[in-house]
Amino acid sequence: MKLADKTAAELQELIHTKELTIADLTEKTFKRIEELDSDVDAFLALNQEQASSQAAEMDQVPFEERGPLFGLPVGVKDNIVTEGIETTASSRILEGFNPIYNATVVEKLRAAGMVIVGKLNMDEFAMGSSNENSYYKNTKNPWNLETVPGGSSGGSAAAVAAGEVPFTLGSDTGGSIRQPASFCGVVGMKPTYGRVSRFGLIAYASSLDQIGPVTRTVKDNALLLNVIAGHDEKDSTSANVDVPDFAAALTGDITGLRIGVPKEYFAQGVGESSVKAVKDALKVLEEKGAICEEISLPHSKYALSTYYLIASSEASSNLSRFDGIRYGYRTEKAGNLLDFYMNTRSEGFGDEVKRRIMLGTYALSSGYYDAYYKKAQKVRTLIKNDFDKAFEKYDVIIGPTTPTPSFKIGEIIDDPLTMYANDILTIPINLAGVPAISIPCGFDNGLPLGLQIIGKYFDEETVYRVADVFEQATDFHKKTPHIWEGAAQ
């Protein structure tokens, strides 16, 4: 019996009818990873021993005490700390780092009975859109192993697309869940800023970072957000608001729903295939009773510059903690104290991280602070106002997730500005702080395309409802990459 295409509900059905145990499921998961991950390279560390013994114990828990995700495997992005499992954020500077506590989301996964199978590759410190900035390996896109999985949560998206694991966690600062979800043809949600605790997430840009779920279906995504959402006193930016049952929001009814379609998201630089796939998707939603109208988010074109100034400034501050003293990489070339710091950091960080640290240091330095950092914060207000205004009239905003499908490994890695442009349609959402999901909506030459559904603050429910209606009406989520065909598990 192959399990890779099963949803959470289908897996639980097999477990409840005793056709499958949690121990079997865990073993099969590791076998599938062993089979496929030499090609995909999604995982960094595996947690096989601990997961296997945990699974055997969990089979003893009575069915009535189990929740919907109990006993199911989950992978975690490597910038989320896991006690006893090496956590590197794909950086050399954290090689061998063994966290002494769990991130709040990891505690929540464990409390829900999920089995953590391992840590997923990413762009170093979540800076990148292709996973090529990992110090350790290049993750490949399961749809075409010569192309990138996207980033920075490339491992999280690729592992799900390869059917190695049905659930993963990613993090999204400027598109890092949605862009790889789009490239890999899976479902990726960036919740409202503050919806999920960031405690234990290795900080990149603290005013933008948010953890979210990656899955094959919308329903499973909502179930995983149910597990990880909620206020946390250990994260002072986590929002003290009620957490609804997101899965219960999938009513299948979008009659009268008002959809704003921003003309800027179909402008120059956005490829024909993305435009067409999204326009077709809007027709599907109209047939289901939604009303689509063109709108304008006039400050969209300023989002990229605003983002790189704010995110780099915050990164330059956050990453100043890596000094080689108490943990992490330490240089052999000590010399004096200054040399010690400078050599440790230069040897420990990759080029993209250095670029952003330098850009941020520059933007925050005396004489440039007002012109760069403060200016960007003011433009951020204008971008946020665009969304506030649109949401007075519309329930959701819909556009493409990315301008193009995935691209070849090595194709644009030496051209930072072109690489950054991958995120032009996802970045504004982080600046505003609203939730958004990417779901599969088409293909271009065998590579997946994503539909981005953006919601009001803390209204992930409507986003999920719309996403589910589209998923139920189409079969893009049922398509699987060729590498599935040869797999024994």
């Binding site: 004096n336 200054l338 950091r345 003011k378």
Partner: protein, 96 residues
Amino acid sequence: MAKMTKEEVIEVAHLARLAITDEEAEHFAEQLEAITNAMELLNELDTENVEPTTHVLEMANVLREDKAEPGLPRELVMKNVKEQEAGQVKVPTILD
């Protein structure tokens, strides 16, 4: 706004505690110049009367009770320390 020159890159790298070679500085200067040029776009906008956004949610300072709680055990805290002696973090000699 000014363009980022090689000299500025060296200065900024020093501020950020990054050692870079002359060659790297030149390469980074090229890339950072292109990036900062792209940022100039923001100058089109009049933001004279716009308040900056530092945080998207309406949130005040979050305070907790000022109550002492036990910290982590020393051996746990020292777990990732590269070199240690007598429960202390050992660092290389840094005084000439």
